[in-house]
């Protein structure tokens, strides 16, 4: 094989290719269907919502990569929880408010993640079941404490995540982009932990024989997932400006979809956070286009569902097509 053919072959094998090409097509389709789709305002809001879903997909990706049929169905519930409780933390100083809020939502999420991890790794409960139960526990907890009537006012400080940095770029978008690359490169790709996670997720037996403590590695993936979900909830409420019960529950399924579109293998051992971000972009673009078309909510979610099935179908078949 000559070099250029090899190169083009490598590009075709790029796991991000489907998500990138679909995004470009969607941007063009959006602009054709509705005027002002590519306006600075709309781009800015697409980037914001993508950023929040990206956080959720990062949480999901870690667990999916960890293998053993790993799925975190509590991502949305944790987000809803911290969206509800995060804004309650208010101090006089803006900086302290922000720091304490972030630390406490992260701890809240990490604790739920730890329970998930213990359930999956020590009590040997199937991840899907364990995290679904946990999602219901977390939702119940929120309902119990707030008695179903959250009276949360989101402080101006927290709403600052929506402030414009320059052009269409806002604070949250910037934070997520930085976080994404830092975690992707320094945690997932370079750190001993990230590399052990891939090995444990790919072949737990072999990883254990290598002396890798797979149980600990996988447990940490669940803690990481909870931690990032906790952060995502706070960001969501800062952007939305008001909190509602279970406001983020849809993020569970969306995060799974985003991760799969981004080329992460549901069987574990393979994937990336950046892929999840691209998958998030695709999903948000679809939603955005359907919204721009003034479609009724029911029809919108129906069409969204059908498109999702289509994308996942192509995605799960693509390795075979390549062969």
């Amino acid at each position: 094989m000559n070099n250029s053919a090899k190169k083009s072959n490598d590009i075709l094998k790029n796991p991000y290719l489907p998500a990138i090409s679909v995004s470009v097509v969607l941007l063009i389709v959006g602009q054709i269907l509705t005027k002002g789709f590519l306006s600075q305002n709309n781009i800015s809001s697409i980037m914001m919502t993508t950023a929040i879903l990206t956080l959720a997909s990062m949480a999901q990706a870690a667990v999916v990569i960890s293998g053993d049929m790993g799925l975190d169905m509590s991502v949305g519930a944790i987000m809803s929880l911290t969206a509800l409780f995060g804004p309650m933390i208010i101090f006089k100083s803006n900086a302290i408010t922000m720091i304490v809020a972030v630390v406490s939502v992260v701890l809240m999420g990490a604790f739920v993640g730890l329970l998930n991890g213990i359930g999956v790794q020590y009590l040997k409960i199937v991840p899907l079941v364990m995290t679904l139960i946990m999602s219901s526990v977390v939702n119940g907890f929120a309902l119990f404490i707030t008695k179903g009537q959250p009276s949360v006012s989101v402080s101006k400080t927290l709403q600052g995540v929506g402030a414009v940095v320059f052009g269409p770029l806002r604070v949250l978008t910037l934070i997520v982009i930085i976080l994404l690359f830092v975690l992707e490169i320094f945690m997932l790709r370079r750190s001993k932990y990230g590399r052990s996670l891939f090995l444990a997720g790919n072949n737990r037996n072999a990883a254990d024989l290598c002396g890798i403590n797979s149980r600990k590695v996988i447990l940490i993936a669940y803690v990481f997932s909870g931690l990032i979900s906790g952060l995502a909830g706070l960001m969501l409420v800062g952007y939305a400006g008001s909190a509602q019960m279970q406001m983020a529950n849809q993020y569970t399924m969306l995060s799974v979809a985003a991760v799969v579109i981004g080329g992460t293998n549901l069987a574990g051992g393979k994937g990336s956070l950046i892929g999840g971000a691209l998958g998030s972009l695709v999903l948000i673009l679809i939603t955005n286009i359907l919204q721009a078309l003034n479609m009724p909510a029911g029809l919108r979610s129906l069409i969204q569902g059908i498109i999702l099935v289509g994308i996942l179908m192509i995605n799960s078949r693509s390795p075979k097509l390549r062969q």
């Binding site: 891939f198 090995l199 072949n203 072999a206 002396g211 890798i212 051992g269 062969q323």
Partner: protein, 505 residues
Amino acid sequence: MGIIISDISKRYGAVVAISRASMSVEKGEIRAILGGNGSGKSTLAKIIGGIISKDSGKIAFNDREINFTSPKNAKKNRVIITSQELSLFTNLTVEENICICDIPVKTGTFINKNGISEKAGKVLEIMNLTDLLGKKVSELHPNQQYMVELAKAIVQNPKLLIIDEITSALYRQDVEIVDKILKNLKSQGCIILFISHRMEELYNICDSVTIMRNGETIGTYPMQEKSEDELLSLMVGTSMVSYHGEGKSHIKPTTKDIFIHVPKIPIQSYHTTESLNICKGEIIGVAGLQGHGQSELVKALYGLSGIIYMEIEGKKCAISNPRSAVKHRFAFISGDRERDGVFNERDLKDNVVSVLELVRKQKVSSPKELLDSYNIRYDNTRQIITELSGGNQQKVVVGRWLSTDPKLLLADDPTKGIDIKARTDLHQEFAKLAEQGSAVIIVSSDDDELVSITSMVERSRVIVMYEGHISKILEGDDITRANILAASMPVAKPNKIKERDKVHA
């Protein structure tokens, strides 16, 4: 009559798996297909069996051109393939698995349980395996699973039976049965294509042999006309020294300094314990019949059967899991590379440096150098490991461990299903390790392998296991296949095997 294969080619992208392979096999002939890993044997077998499609060429079976589009299609024509990748349902019983391709039914709809037992029972009786009836496949030893796989093929009354590597996991007495069954099928006019790396079996079972190399069929010869060395050089393309001659003669060790003393090694399935002294620079071969505790012995030493106490160079220590074993510079290589060795989604670098960088916390400056030093054939370090042939994959796993400079290498049938060239390479690596003063304990289902590898170093022993105990320790010139076999079966000694063994010895 028979099968005529002409000019079959198959490419995967840029990789040529088979190029213009041709051969013809007569009715009632048992044909061996011999070649290194990656020479296209399995691909050819899969094409004939309808598992994968060919790019070009023709197959004529009983004077009729065939082009199977699926294994189901092939089965209708009674062309059956059994492969090294087992096609069993581990959650079903042995008899259900055997009949799965054609389940007996009552009144056209309902499963006939008695019919299943009867049908499977007949085959199992021929195979001397009636004690497997009613067991779940997941309960069986790997070699028994292979036998069930074979039974499943035979129950379908094949006219053309392809056996791909099935015997590489079998122990000698199983192979006897396979031999008997195949001869029986042969007398009924069945064509058998037999793929195996074990020369002795090929000579016993097959009538003729087709050699494959780099996807081409090099030639077909009557089995008895070619010596092992000749076959080997045909396979490799250059003449090479035979595998049996790789070692020196056995020397009985005079002095011994005990390196590791293990007072109690639990063999769980027999509820027995054994003790073992391991010397520096020693290769210990572990022999025995199927499932007599050989694997459990090495696994227990690696901390896989709970905490184990031992004295290493006089110091007492406890090994509770693989992690602590790795800390004591132990290494474990399993023959089941799919399950225990390879990270199939990861690249060569991740695979080869996994222990060194992630567990022993040493930076590997050049994974490429590491891979090169173990004679691995690869394109670049970022290749996914499954792009390599089985033998090369196993070499990567071996490289992973040898690069950690282990003091004790535990190997559980490490050369299962890899070609002779790769196997010889691995033996040399093991011998080199022992020469540097480390100890090697190797389990093998192939006695020849043990005789050969123990002859490569000065200090060596073969311990033979029977029912969870070490029944015999062979040293020096006592390490022969005949002695190993005799010690493996202290109770029943079938005369036939002994006689045949003497002839070979």
